[in-house]
Amino acid sequence: MQSITFAYRQLNALILGKPQQTRLALACLLAGGHLLIEDVPGVGKTTLAHSLAAVLGLDYRRVQFTSDLLPADVLGGSVFLPGEGRFEFRPGPVFAQLLLADEINRASPKVQSALLEAMEEQQVSADGVTHALPEPFFVIATQNPDGQRGTFPLPESQLDRFLMRISLGYPPADAELKLLQGGDRRQVMHKLTAALSATDLLQLQQQAASLHVSPALAGYVLALLQATRQPELFLHGLSPRAGLALLAAARAWALLDGRDHVLPEDIKAVFVPVAAHRLTPRLPGSDSSALLLRILGNVALA
């Protein structure tokens, strides 16, 4: 537990003024989920992904997604070895413990779905051979907000593969001032030390998954899910899978708090990041997050 607190502190030293987002990112990884960071360029998405890998002691790769990227560029492919007269599988960047898929919505849908399949299955199949991905395996994808030029927005079914979607947003004024005076953050990143090993992380994940969820809390989650299913709010309400994701994220959040059981507070903390990207508002132009906050305000605990 100490190690995770240390990791958290280091992250906040680097990502200034965003304690909530860094904590969500940590919780997402503790819950074993993939993270989608949605933001305009230049607010520190890549820095967050990179520093997460560093403090968690994970093997890190980065792929910049472009429109001409091919699936093999991500997954890897077979290469003919003339000396030995056979093909050999060369793993792509996806064979890393933490893959940063930068600007995922710039790639063609073909590449997107290849990556998302790998994320779901935890394995890559090539030439009839299945290659397991390392453990732990995380994908942190960043994307520019929809509407920016040259993007292929991810369909809802694929957004569902990400446990959370967070936005960093512009830093608060004092943090930004400090940032402007402090020089390049990427230099600071090299000073980060791994707070825990991959084994520690797996252990923490197991610990998080075993946190107690009382029937009353499950009831509260159910009430929230049902509230999203009111037809006038969203095109489709949250699925049972979303409910399980919500509980997994809340457990990780509770673990970060050092508790052995989940409270409604945990649910509320992760609800919007877990739910918002899975929902499409019924009225065009309205915002999922705002609707979800309204639900949180109205659904009573008991």
Binding site: S214, A216, H261, N298, A300, L301, A302
Partner: protein
């Protein structure tokens, strides 16, 4: 709604309509409900076989033909019979163009309307029971139409009806009523009502006796009369053509002076008019509201054309005679006799010769009749010509009609003005309800003879079979005609008890429900201190009554909901109420931490108390150990005791 559900609900609607219309078989020409049933069956078959609706042309034919037949049959499409029959046929036709859910709902609404129509013909408690049954069936169909689970639907229906019942009572009591009885409506043919016939020829009343159908009730205030005093006068027959007695109905109004100054009996009667006349105990002294005491001591309603059931009060002196001055012309009128029955006329004239004094002559006539060896029976042989002679000298068997007819003829032959009075004699005292029930079988006829300026009652039947009058018809028949197939003697004890209960129910129903008219309503309003039945007062009473009925209902429903809430829900809700009461801006979705954050504005002690409560709450509700019932009760008591001080305005 699924197609199968709609199909089931459609059957339910059709079945409910069939049930609703069933009593109309009793009141309409039989073929009309039959056609209605056929139309429903047609529709049900189409639903069953999932076939489309018939073409418009068929539908038009299927409807126009019966309507035309109805016109030919009744010569009208309005009024009670015509209107109801027409409505029935139209509803049947509507069923055949009913396809969508909305259509079925419309059809069902028509069913509710139809359910009320049998009451236009008959307002007995049985009709009311049938109406309740119909309401249940219709509501059930409505519940099914709303897509309710078929297995739950009976319970839902019963609950809905039970919950609406108090409101129904309030509306019944409070809604203004038209003057006159409930459901009164002009009928097409006068005289189709059961009761006494407008003429008497031996045999007519005898046919009524086997019928134990209740005809009217009487309730005495104060002392009860003896059975032998109960001569219920209805009509007077004063014209005889040799075989048949009829009423001449000379319109000769006159005042009536009563002989004797006995204490009058006061009583209320609920009855339908018989040929326009109402039963009244001999001798009437004073008629209450709505009725008049007139010519020949007959009682009729003020609005004589109205043949609906009526409740009225009368005062009578139990006496067998009353004073009446007849002039020469009238005396001659009451002496008219046709030339038939020569032997009787001869006997009368002979007696008259021997007894010049009218009073003595009357006595002699009675004595003579008693000595003729006559026998009381309900199944006398039929008589052809000279019926009175045949009865007195040949068959010597008969019942009240024969006796009264013969004695009146005899008296007229002896030169005494006389007439026949028709009505009821006796009745059964209902010990539970303390009222008298008079039945068809109590119908009776007796004579009145004018002697020394008074009409005197002579019950010739009593001269021969006195038990008919003293013990009532039931006992008389038991002795006189033990093997009468139709009467079967006196029913066993338990059956009598059941019968009395039924009478009581019927009586209460007539009195309190059917008889609840504008006057009773006014009475009730006054008793409740509501004043006149004016628009404003009705609205007041309506609102008050509805509040009176609906508030407990609402409380019951809310309490029921509260009872189903878990302890945790109650704890949480009360806690929220307390904090909101203290002036904190609590929202429903607040968590413990958020409540605590809001509570920063509370007094220090309250904050700490709240923190302790919230901690317990979290432990019991979300902790790995959970909480047992005792822990929850403990928390519940603490939460109820928690009363944070109000916070001031934000500085």
């Amino acid at each position: 709604m699924l197609a199968d559900e709609l199909r089931l609900a459609s059957f339910a609607v059709l079945a409910a309509l069939a049930l609703v219309a069933l009593p109309l078989f009793l009141h309409l020409p039989g073929w009309v409900p039959l056609v209605f049933a056929l139309l429903l069956a047609w529709r049900a078959t189409l639903v069953w076989q999932r076939r489309p609706l018939p073409r418009r042309l068929w539908l038009m034919l299927g409807l126009l033909l019966p309507v035309a037949a109805l016109w030919l049959n009744l010569r009208t499409l309005v009024g009670r019979e015509g209107g109801v029959a027409f409505l029935l046929l139209l509803v049947g036709g509507k069923a055949l163009e009913t396809a969508s859910l909305r259509d079925w709902r419309v059809l069902l609404a028509l069913g509710f309307f139809l359910a009320a129509t049998p009451l236009l013909f008959d307002q007995s408690p049985l009709s009311a029971l049938w109406l309740l049954l119909s309401l249940f069936a219709l509501t059930w169909a409505m519940v099914l139409l709303s897509g309710e689970d078929a297995r739950l639907s009976p319970a839902v229906t019963a609950r809905a009806l039970l919950l609406s019942f108090p409101l129904m009572v309030v509306l019944f009591v409070v809604m203004p009523r038209l003057p006159g009885p409930l459901w009164s409506m002009p009928t097409e043919q006068q005289g189709a009502t059961t009761g006494l016939a407008d003429s008497m020829s031996p045999g007519a009343i005898g046919k009524m006796i086997p019928s134990r159908e209740p005809v009217f009730t009487a309730e005495f205030r104060g002392s009860q009369p003896r059975v032998s005093q109960l001569y219920w006068r209805v009509m007077v027959f004063d014209q005889f053509d040799g075989t048949r007695w009829t009423a001449a109905n000379l319109a000769l109004p006159r005042g009536v002076a009563l002989s004797g100054e006995a204490q009058p009996l006061r009583y209320d009667v609920v009855a339908e008019p018989f040929q326009g006349y109402l039963p009244m105990l001999e001798q009437g002294v004073e008629a209450g509201e709505g009725v008049v005491l007139g010519y020949q001591q007959k009682l009729r309603r003020v609005d004589a054309a109205n043949i609906a059931r009526l409740r009225y009060s009368v005062q009578s002196v139990a006496s067998s005679q009353y004073r009446d001055a007849l002039d020469e012309r009238e005396q001659a009128f009451y002496l008219q006799l046709p030339a038939d029955n020569p032997r009787t006329i001869q006997a009368g004239q002979a007696l008259a010769g021997r007894h010049p004094q009218p009073a003595a002559r009357l006595q002699a006539l009675q004595l003579w009749l008693a000595e003729q060896g006559l026998r009381y029976t309900l199944s006398p042989p039929t008589l052809a010509d000279n019926v009175v002679d045949g009865f007195l000298f040949d068959s010597r068997q008969g019942f009240c009609e024969h006796f009264s007819s013969a004695f009146t003829v005899l008296a007229r032959a002896a030169g005494l003005p006389a007439r026949v009075v028709v009505g009821f004699q006796g009745g059964e005292f209902n010990t539970q309800g303390r009222f008298w029930q008079i039945r068809s079988s109590d119908a009776h006829a007796w004579s009145e003879v004018w002697v020394d300026g008074s009409w005197r009652r002579v019950d010739a039947t009593a001269l021969v079979a006195p038990q008919r009058v003293d013990a009532g018809i039931d006992n008389t028949l038991g002795e006189v005609a033990p093997r009468m197939p139709l009467v079967g003697g006196r029913p066993p004890g338990w059956a009598q008890w059941v019968g009395q209960q039924w009478q009581l129910a019927n009586f209460s129903w007539q009195r309190w429900v059917v008889g609840y008219d504008a006057a009773s309503q006014q009475n009730l309003f006054q008793k409740l201190g509501l004043g006149e039945v004016s628009a404003a007062n009705v609205v007041k009473a309506l609102l008050g009554g509805m509040a009176l009925v609906l508030l407990p209902l609402a409380a019951y429903v809310l309490h029921g909901r509260r009872g189903r809430r878990s302890m945790a829900q109650r704890v949480w809700q009360v806690l929220g109420q307390r904090l909101r009461g203290a002036g904190l801006p609590i929202t429903p979705g607040d968590t413990a931490a958020e409540l605590q954050a809001h509570a920063a504005r509370l007094a220090e002690a309250d904050q700490q108390a709240l923190a302790a409560l919230l901690q317990q709450w979290q432990r019991l509700q979300y902790g790995p150990q959970g909480g047992d019932a005792a822990a929850w009760r403990h928390l519940w008591r603490q939460v109820r005791a928690f009363r944070p001080a109000k916070v001031g305005r934000k500085r």
